[in-house]
Amino acid sequence: MKRLLVFTYATLLLGPVLDAQQSTPARPPMEPQGRPDPWRSSPPAQEAIPIPVPMAPPKPNGPVQKSLVRVTATSLDPDYKAPWNAGTLERGVGAGFVISGNRIMTNAHVVANSRYLTVERDGDPNKYPAKVQFIANDCDLALITVSAPDFFKNMLSLQLGGIPALESTVSAYGYPIGGERMSVTTGIVSRVDFQLYTHSSVDQHLAIQISAQINPGNSGGPVMQDGKVVGVAFQGYSGDVAQGVAYMIPTPVIKRFLQDISNGHYDEYPDLAITYAKLQNPAQRRFLGLKDDDRGVLVSSVVAAGPSDGILYPGDVLLAIDGHPIASDANVELEGERAQFEEVVERKFKGDSVKMDVLRNKRPVTVEIKLYKPWPYSVQGHSYDVRPRYVLYGGLLFQPLNLDMLEAYRTADLRVRHFFEYFVLDQLYLQHPDVIVLANILPDPINTYLAPYRGGIVDEVNGKKIRTLDELANALTESPEQLIIRMIGDGPPLVLNRSQIEAARERIKTRYNVLKEQNLEEQPASKGPEQGNKI
């Protein structure tokens, strides 16, 4: 499910854990407050305060110790401000656990962008190289595997349980900050609800809030009840936002991931790609011809690039989904539990269909929607394991707008922010599938007067509308001597002379150590097994 209407941030439990010895440049504090941090492990900011030893330390369940692994990932995070570079080297620690088929489950954010992975197990001094088998960035899960023949020999694989009851006790296992060895914490199930998954920043799925302490390094670790896995610890709030709010990925999401990859490929979550409003106003219900029966939600908008385009229309009232009546507060009853009606779609796969009972112009109709994932949302979420796309021309760095790029530049430009925020809602992607921003200028005598154009969004080159980065690259290559770039808005044209730029190319490449002047390759949707750790 994609974010609907108002975007509210939830908190992630994955802590990016930097190795204390390694001098890695600190990341700028990009995350808006009130958003969960993904928890790999990070060095303790202050000295730990000694806590009295409990009278009866909780005993870890036997199987967990024989299943839990510590995952150390060395990753290269792309540098969107110097996209030709390999990126920033980061190290992080997370947890994982063995499941059936000699596979290790962990969080996507533990292994995303990784270049080298090792796993360690309890009571074994060796570090075993590992590889990513499947990664699902939209639900923050990944499977990794170890090729060493004996690695799984004495390991136990854990079984998946169901959704634990509210108030029931659960135990979280992992390698959080505070020590080297496995840690166990316990707590109760506090809440079951849809949450934003911070790893992608654009996907919402079911998540379970638990009161067990979860800290950086817990990410990817199992949360157990009655000897079975009931969740994967993944995100939480940092202490300055809220205390003791931790989340785990529940088993319906885990099971869906495992089923999705059973064909050897992760297809991602499909989405209806609509926005809707609850129908709780009596006058509005009467206007729409609805009975006083607390049923139905109003379709507000339909994303043109999504599966509902041409099937659902603004003003439609959705009455039932796959036969489940939709209440006016958007809930349905599934297996005795109330859940948002999108949960029905959440459990489906690309290519599946969903049946909707609709009231349209006061007449009932039934429609069927064949599901897939609409692409425009990806611009608003984080990308992993892909090289940033860009074109560098005459020192002018053109980049398509997306969340990673926006955060790298921390742009406050009103127009750029508008194009980002309303990219889907205002269907801006129809005119601008790539919103191409003149993101930066590498100073050179040929562009010394061009600084005021920085931050502009490309509209036309020599009278031709530019819709994608490829079109821009072509227009720059094919252009005559004088190149006239028009930005959106009232600004002056940006005029370049091709011969001057050609003469300056090598100079700029050398001066700024630019390895490659452009990268146009399409971003791979996911990393399949054949791609392993490579991009």
Binding site: A277, N281, P282
Partner: protein, 500 residues
């Protein structure tokens, strides 16, 4: 949502809003026969309109300031000081004698206002200040403040820069003196006069105590204001209505048809419809090379006899008056031509989202708990000094790009600003900051349109359509009418709409 008060302005750290009638220093004044300074204290009580509850005013504020006494019994202060005032009082520095005063002329954009005492004899015995127009960079000016005793506190500072800068109401730029000066804090230190050889050279606009830099409204702007104030109808500072861009870039110069490498001129990027520039025939792509017979360089500066290089807009705002015809020399595709631009002041009503609305109540329309307002920068500023980041992003975008998004200018943007929970608005109470497109099928370009459209329900329903989700809202017209009185009583709404 944070709701800040409107009182604080960027750099004005000298703002004093202490209680009126605060006790003066107990130290007896030894200077009974001091010189009668051309300064009076000005005490102001006022109330701003509350844009989040547009039917009411906010709690009263008080400000104490100084006023410069000019000829003909007039007192010059900043517009800031007396904006949204309920009561203004003048107080003689040496005697403490007080009288009520009226605001005769106010210009929010240039931040100047003229007061007059109700008792005409009140300023008798004071020799009014003359105006010194000849301040240049390197001059020393004295800031005049008053000690609690009524004695003069004078601080000297150096004029470091004379340039065009934005004023608190961000409409165009005006000439500004920047002065390096170590000011001391005193009560009343709002509207501090800057004096050169006993003549008024400027008025404090803002002061940054960390850098000790003071920006002053300079004498040429004051003189322009005073001269305009003497005419029958105050017209305000004029503008031409176009945007321009420097032409330092040789490629842009070549594109604009300009051959000479060192010739001046700025590139016209936008000419707004209905403005003097449009009426005079100025076009996008023209190079403006001369304004009022002054050559313009590639950055848009002319050489001022007093200040040297300064932006040419000074020729329009400080030297020109609404109605003046100013010759522009432009090059179009390399061919020179002359355009005569008849300057006009741009009134706030000529904006889609007006830049300010002061001393006037905001317009609004309450319908069954839905509050409709017209988008204005005054409304957005209710989010405080960082309103551009903190106010709803879409509304800031509409305000900022209004000339691009609404080139015809002939409309307002009506917003559903908030919803008061009531029986008729159940389920709508979280809606806010939506832009209204239609009501009962009729297009909405102002609150007047809305007021008319709601009179014609569709089969008993009032249908409001919005640009953003949820796209449509319906109310029961009969229910809205029946519950109107309850709504008013419940939320203390004095009137359900104000459209004038």
């Amino acid at each position: 949502m944070t709701r800040h008060s409107l009182i604080a302005f960027g750099l004005i750290l000298f703002t004093v809003s202490g209680a009126l009638g605060k006790k003066e220093s107990a130290v007896p004044s030894a200077l009974n026969k001091q010189k009668q300074l051309a300064l009076v204290r000005v005490n102001v009580t006022g109330q701003s309109y509350d844009y989040f509850r547009p039917w009411q005013k906010k709690a009263p504020f008080s400000k104490r300031a100084l006023g410069a006494v000019l000829s003909k019994g007039r007192v010059l202060v900043t517009a800031d000081l007396v904006t949204n005032q309920n009561y203004v009082e003048l107080e003689r520095a040496e005697s403490g004698e007080k009288t009520a005063a009226t605001v005769e002329v106010i210009d929010y954009e240039a931040n100047l206002a003229l007061l007059q005492p109700v008792e005409k004899s009140f300023l008798d015995g004071i020799t009014p200040l003359e105006i010194a127009l000849d301040t240049v960079v390197g001059d020393r000016l004295a800031a005049w403040q008053l000690e609690p005793t009524g004695a003069l506190l004078a601080t000297e500072g150096l004029v470091t820069t004379v340039q065009m800068m934005p004023y608190p109401i961000d409409v165009g730029e005006f000439l500004t003196y920047r002065i390096s000066i170590p000011m001391q804090y005193r009560e009343n230190s709002y509207t501090v006069p800057l004096v050169k050889k006993n003549k008024l050279a400027g008025l404090l606009l803002r002061y940054d105590s960390r850098s000790q830099l003071l920006d002053a409204i300079p004498a040429p702007v004051i003189t322009h204001f005073l001269k305009d104030a003497e005419s029958q109808n105050y017209r305000g500072f004029p503008s031409a209505g176009f945007s321009f861009f420097p032409t330092r870039d040789p490629a842009l110069r070549e594109f604009a048809g300009e051959k000479g490498k060192n010739a001046g001129g700025v590139y016209v990027t936008n000419v707004e419809p209905g403005t003097p520039a449009m009426k005079a025939g100025l076009q996008v792509g023209d190079m403006v090379t001369e304004v009022a017979n002054n050559e313009i360089d590639q950055n848009g500066n002319y050489v001022d006899p007093l200040y040297g290089k300064i932006e040419f807009t000074n020729l329009l705002s400080a030297h020109g008056y609404a109605g003046d015809v100013v010759p522009f020399r432009v090059e179009r595709n390399g061919k020179p031509m002359q355009l005569n631009v008849t300057l006009e002041h741009r009134d706030t009503k000529d904006y889609v989202s007006p830049p300010y609305n002061l001393d006037q109540p905001p317009r609004y329309y309450v319908l069954g708990g839905l509050i409709f307002q017209e988008l204005s920068r005054q409304y957005l500023k209710e989010w405080g000094p960082n309103w551009q980041r903190e106010a709803p992003q879409r509304l800031v975008y509409l305000d900022h790009f209004q000339s691009e998004l609404f080139p015809d200018r002939n409309r307002r943007v009506v917003i559903l600003s908030q919803v008061l929970p009531a029986n008729s608005t159940i389920g709508y109470d979280e809606l806010a900051y939506l832009t209204v497109t239609k009501v009962n099928g009729k297009e909405i370009k102002s609150l007047d349109d809305l007021a008319e459209a709601v009179k014609h329900p569709i089969e008993g329903f009032i249908k409001v359509e919005t640009e953003e989700d949820p796209k449509q809202i319906e109310l029961d017209a009969a229910q809205v009418a029946a519950e109107a009185q309850d709504l008013q009583d419940n939320y203390g709404i004095s009137a359900l709409h104000r459209l004038n």
